[in-house]
Amino acid sequence: MVTVKFFAQLRDAVGTDSLQIAAADLEQVYAQLQQSLDSEAWEQLRQDNVRVAVNQNIVNTNPALCHGDEVAFLPPVTGG
């Protein structure tokens, strides 16, 4: 099982800040989310400006995931 986290407007869209998902890589996380989320939340998650972090590092590939890994969906950031 991996923990999947949603922040800010993505959390609002998904309706929860985290899910537990059984997945062996990032593609499987996506596949599961596509099935379980409503289409609006799913589309928001797939927007170009959404970044994905695995264990708090941004990834652009399809990394293998281990039990306990943390996948996070990050909408555009702004601080200051």
Binding site: K5, F7, A8, Q9, D12, A53, Q56, A72, L74, P75, P76, V77, T78, G79, G80
Partner: protein, 154 residues
């Protein structure tokens, strides 16, 4: 560098940096960001009542540490402190402090401005604004993006 919910005391942070820097520092630049009551992003003048900052514990700290690190690689600024608040804030409250000490003022000014520009565009933080016009998640402005980009060309 610290992420915290409660307000910060500028005087205390300043005194700490002065003590650390001793007589090697010629300049200390302090930036404090405050919550404005005017909705700047929507630009419709609607009054802001609450600003909420959300973070990703661990990753937010790492993103800010990396901004400070880049500033210290670019300029001789041995003393840098950043305090960023998260949670709910009302107009006129302090949101963020950036303090930079250096032997020379030009480095201190440049590094402080660089850190602020990068906090706007690269720090892992999210802002939700509650105003008369409703509630919305904010994004960094085109101007912020432009300012960040300019540093990459220098």
């Amino acid at each position: 560098m610290v992420i915290q919910q409660h307000d910060f005391d500028v005087a205390k942070i300043y005194d700490t940096m002065r003590n650390q820097a001793g007589s090697d520092a010629g300049a200390i630049v302090t930036f404090v960001g405050l919550v404005r009551d005017r909705n700047a992003i929507a630009g419709d003048g609607s009054t802001v009542s609450t600003l909420t900052l959300e973070h990703y514990p661990g990753m937010t700290e790492k993103s800010i540490a990396s901004i400070i690190d880049e500033a210290q690689q670019r300029w001789p600024v041995p003393w840098v402190n950043v305090v960023h608040r998260v949670g709910e804030m009302q107009p006129s409250e302090q949101i963020v402090l950036v303090m930079v000490g250096s032997a020379h003022r030009d480095a201190a000014f440049a590094a402080a401005e660089f850190i602020m520009d990068y906090l706007k565009t690269k720090a892992v933080l999210w802002k939700r604004e509650l105003s008369e016009a409703g509630e919305r998640w904010l994004e960094s402005t085109d101007q912020d993006a432009e300012r960040s980009k300019n540093w990459q060309q220098n």
